[in-house]
């Protein structure tokens, strides 16, 4: 049985420090197990958010050795335990206590995105007919567990605090799921350009790298949305061709 040191952020909204805790490490443990063990052994007031311990609820997001990760999905045998393991809360959101941050900004952002607006039903019974291949693309986006690790690692939010102007990768994925849905008739490209700041994304792909559900956020959601914005706002020739086609049709 090995013993490892965990350097955990302790403190409230204003001040905090990294406090070292030692605990025994056994085979198969994840970071969240170590945190729970530390709570049981030496820090019963250590605040951390968790729920499923299976990488599906998205509650235990934190920064482990500086990288945004789910504590429940980070096995200790993937970390160098000869050095202190740092565990901090997500930096893109205001800290509340210890490892807990206030992520309520995300809920407010979601409310601002135009809702799903389906076309008229295809059948008299009020149902629609869609092909699987038309929804294949958006099903990837439905895997999102809203852990907000992508929001945390995004430098536009993390380093530049553009929370008022940029909705972040999570909600670009959400917008893509709606925008690319074969039944949806709403147009969100104007909002994406003007209100949601898609132009702030400079394609670092950090969001894709940290996604625990392996959603190809940048290539499959953000860039296709950027291209749709180009269609509507930055492609005069494309616009002319569309106009010509409409007139002809």
């Amino acid at each position: 049985m090995a013993r490892a040191t965990f350097s955990i952020r302790r403190g409230g909204r204003e001040t905090a420090e990294l406090v070292d805790y030692q605990t025994d490490v056994t085979e198969g443990m994840v970071v969240l197990d170590a945190v729970h063990q530390i709570q049981a052994e030496s820090a019963p007031d250590l605040a951390c958010r968790w729920n499923c311990k299976a990488g599906k609820c998205g509650s235990c997001s934190a920064e482990i050795n500086g990288m945004p990760r789910l504590m429940c999905m980070t096995r200790l045998d993937t970390i160098d335990l000869t050095q202190k393991v740092t565990i901090e809360p997500m930096r893109a959101f205001p800290p509340v206590k210890d490892l807990i941050t206030d992520v309520s900004w995300n809920y407010e952002v979601k409310k601002r995105i135009k809702k799903f607006k389906p076309r008229k039903p295809d059948a008299e019974d009020g149902t629609w007919r869609i092909q699987q291949e038309d929804v294949d693309r958006v099903q990837e986006f439905r895997k999102c567990i809203e852990c907000y690790l992508c929001q945390d690692v995004c430098h536009v939010l993390r380093d530049h605090a553009k929370h008022q102007e940029f909705i972040g990768p999570r909600f670009l994925v959400y917008s893509a799921a709606l925008e690319m849905h074969p039944l949806d008739t709403e147009d969100r490209t104007g909002d994406l350009k003007d209100l949601f700041g898609i132009g702030y994304c400079n394609i670092t792909k950090c969001c894709t790298k940290v996604c625990p559900e392996h959603i190809t956020i940048t290539d499959n959601a953000i860039i296709p949305l950027k291209e749709r914005v180009v269609d509507e706002h930055y492609d005069p020739i494309g616009k002319l061709v569309k106009l010509f086609r409409k007139e002809k049709g």
């Binding site: 309520s104 900004w105 690319m180 290539d219 950027k226």
Partner: protein, 277 residues
């Protein structure tokens, strides 16, 4: 919206709690792109040794040759579309002007505005950010929302030009299969240069046909693609290449540089081109 968001603490340039070698990837990108920029600029300034006499070999950095370089006059390359360097075009604008400068802006613009390269050089050249979860040097950030980087949105126009270039380079690869000598005239053959220039088209094609903009234009923009079988197939095809976009971006970049180097070396007589038949 929560008002206490301003309490987020910024980290200084390079500050991070990461312990891995986060600086390796941006450094390699910096060195790789930097080396290509230095070499291609040098090669573009040369204005000679961009073709090999007696073969159809032509450096991809000079293709298409709109006018033959004034540096080789009165000789001709046999590749020029509009003949020798015209009198109305200056031979230098502070620095010498060569046929490469007349065309390189197009593939250069395609790569500069490419979604993959954007992410790569924003990190390695601008440190914006230097790597994921690593502090940045600047407080101000405009992204691609305002000038000048809003111009990255013209990527699809460079794509259209890049597709034309692929056709031209494919023709060059075909031309590289024909050799001329005084005894037997023009005959079909394969040399190492033929393979080098053919591989160049394959790699550039794999990079260009995996472009994110092309993926959107061929079918990605359609929400209901099942009713458009041709577009659906094209979209799937481009998507497959798109998954390897980074790989082909680097391979094709290296190979363009190597193709120019190969043609230059053979043209200068330093390397002998091996003919298979």
């Amino acid at each position: 919206m929560a008002s206490n968001l301003v309490s987020i603490q910024r980290r200084g340039f390079g500050q991070t709690m990461r312990r891995d070698g986060w600086w390796i990837a941006p450094l390699l990108t910096f060195l790789g792109l930097g080396a290509f920029i230095v070499y291609s600029t040098w090669a573009a300034f040369q204005g000679e040794h961009y073709f090999v006499q007696g073969t159809g070999y032509l450096s991809p950095m000079y293709s298409p040759v709109l006018f033959d370089s004034w540096k080789i006059a009165p000789a001709v390359s046999g590749h020029s579309w509009f003949g020798p360097w015209p009198a109305w075009l200056p031979q230098s604008m502070i620095l010498p002007l060569t046929p490469a400068f007349l065309i390189l802006w197009a593939p250069g613009g395609f790569r500069f505005t490419c979604y993959y390269y954007r992410g790569a050089y924003y990190k390695s050249f601008w440190a914006d950010p230097p790597a994921c979860a690593v502090g940045e040097p600047r407080h101000d950030y405009r992204g691609e929302k305002k000038l000048p980087l809003i111009l990255q949105n013209i990527h699809r126009y460079f794509l259209y030009l890049a597709l034309v270039f692929i056709c031209i380079l494919a023709y060059d690869a075909w031309s590289a299969m024909w050799f001329t000598d005084a005894r037997s005239g023009t005959r079909f053959g394969i040399g190492v240069g033929t393979l080098v220039l053919s591989m160049n088209v394959v790699l550039l094609g794999s990079y260009t046909f995996g472009c994110h903009s092309l993926r959107h234009l061929v079918g990605g923009r359609c929400d209901t693609i099942s009713t458009r079988p041709v577009q659906h197939k094209l979209w799937k095809w481009v998507s497959k290449l798109n998954k390897r976009h980074m790989l082909f971006a680097w391979l094709s970049l290296f190979w363009v540089g190597f193709s120019d180097f190969y043609v230059r070396m053979v043209s200068m007589g330093i390397w002998a081109d091996y003919r298979f038949f």
